[in-house]
């Protein structure tokens, strides 16, 4: 193996960039879907109607007990069967990530809401608010601040996990890197580059979290 030649990265930059775009887009869509359905699932999980809470708990336990890569596979093969037509790997990956991450976001949101003392709702309700108003103006702003760091951490993990979509033939950033590396036989350069890119994105993300993590002025 000769000296390192990073020109290979520059030469293939558009190709690598399109891979990274897919990773970022999938992560962004999955985070949005996961938090949206996670919030709904979190509400169901806290429901006072027992069977509803149990169903939500069952969902969470199920998806936390199976590997993500398996879920990606399942959805890729199952959704076309259910819909009767092919959905394409990207849509099926999005669905898989959303289903999977919903379970994790659900628990984060539930824990965040339950971290707020019950007396806070009582104070709101005692001043004539409905429970919904008390949730909206008193509980949610506090809960959201409490759970922000964990939400962001989970989202960074999600972004890293998008590299699993190679199993359904999607060309994400990691797959693009591997392709170039094997074609040009520049494995060291390419995998170093991949490490730097993942590190830069995730490190920027966690720095952002730390700045948010200050919480209330105390």
């Amino acid at each position: 193996m000769g000296p390192l030649d990073f020109n290979v990265v520059l030469r293939n930059l558009p190709y690598l960039w399109s891979g990274l775009q897919l990773s970022l887009l999938l992560a962004a869509l999955a985070i949005t879907g996961g938090i949206f359905f996670g919030a709904i699932m979190g509400v169901l999980r806290m429901s006072s109607i027992r069977p509803v809470a149990w169903l939500a708990l069952g969902y969470v336990n199920f998806f936390r007990s199976v590997p993500l890569i398996l879920v990606i596979f399942w959805i890729y093969f199952l959704v076309p069967l259910l819909l009767g037509r092919a959905t394409g790997p990207f849509l099926s990956a999005w669905i898989a990530f959303t289903l999977f991450e919903t379970a994790y976001y659900c628990e984060i949101i539930r824990a965040g809401v339950q971290s707020i003392p019950k007396g806070q709702i009582s104070a709101g309700v005692a001043s004539g608010m409905t429970r919904l108003q008390a949730m909206r103006y008193i509980v949610m702003p506090q809960a959201f601040r409490n759970m922000m760091p964990i939400l962001m951490t989970q989202s960074i993990i999600l972004f890293q996990d998008t590299s699993l979509v190679y199993v359904v033939t999607l060309r994400d950033f990691m797959t693009s890197v591997a392709t170039v590396a094997n074609q040009d036989l520049r494995l060291v350069e390419l995998y170093l580059f991949a490490a730097v890119v993942y590190f830069a994105i995730c490190f920027a993300g966690s720095r952002f979290i730390n700045r948010l993590g200050g919480g209330f002025r105390r």
Binding site: G119, Q120, S122, A123, V125, A126, S127, Y137, R145
Partner: protein, 241 residues
């Protein structure tokens, strides 16, 4: 003004309130005392429906507690002050006071803020409007909580052990604010162990034990000549030291 009639409440098998009855006139200050676990807090939380009760009836200012539709209207007229203040930590003192008037009474922000500043002045905290609860001392927090309750222009104020969570040197500043309120003619029900306050400010003392209202009497006779053996034992315990 407030009529509590034959109210009973159970936690599964355990009866926390046993046929409690008392009528309270406008402008009266009632202190509720008794050993811990005697149902004092539960009783005043029944008055604004924070605690549901199983039997009996409570009427406040002509509105029946328990009618779900009336309950929210009722709560806007009943201010409540909690043992642990329950200020909203994500809002400044001023915003703590403005929130319910804006959300529930649909007041404009400017109007709510003007009123809130006046109330902060009234509880002696003019300079602390923009501070957050955790930047304030316990006594200051409780005074903000009182201002917050007053912002709804209540006709009745409920105090659930308002000084129990305070350091001794801060108790007076809160009791002073409460005494001022009483002097201004507010109808108040106060659960407290502060017998000095009870003696000075209360019109009547309700003594509770094991879920029952044992005595309802003016402070002069309650402290000097309690009727029941249970009140005598209680008073000897808390006044003895």
């Amino acid at each position: 003004m407030i009529k509590i009639h034959d109210v009973s409440k159970w936690y599964t098998d355990f009866q926390v309130l046993k046929s409690c009855s008392v009528s309270i006139a406008r402008g009266e200050v009632i202190v509720v005392c008794g050993p811990s676990g005697s149902g004092k807090s539960t009783l005043i939380k029944c008055v604004n429906g924070l605690e549901p009760f199983d039997e009996g009836e409570i009427v406040v200012d002509g509105l029946k507690v328990a009618d779900k539709a009336d309950l929210r209207v009722l709560r806007t007229r009943i201010g409540m002050v909690f043992q642990n203040f329950e200020l909203y930590p994500h809002l400044s003192a001023l915003d703590n006071i403005c929130l319910a008037p804006m959300v529930v009474l649909k007041r404009k922000r400017a109007e709510a803020e003007t009123r809130a500043r006046a109330l902060l002045a009234r509880v002696g905290l003019t300079d602390h409007a923009s501070k957050f609860p955790l930047q304030l001392s316990g006594g200051q927090q409780q005074r903000v909580a009182i201002a917050r309750a007053l912002a709804m222009d209540p006709v009745v104020m409920l105090f659930d052990e308002p000084t129990s969570a305070l350091d001794p040197e801060m108790i007076k500043e809160v009791l002073d604010v409460m005494s001022d309120l009483a002097r201004d003619g507010m109808t108040m029900i106060v659960v407290t162990h502060e017998m000095g306050f009870a003696r000075r400010v209360a019109n009547r003392i309700i003594f509770m034990d094991a879920g029952e209202i044992v005595e309802t009497r003016p402070p002069e006779t309650f402290f000097t000549a309690p009727e029941s053996e249970r009140a005598r034992v209680f008073l000897s315990k808390i006044l003895g030291h």
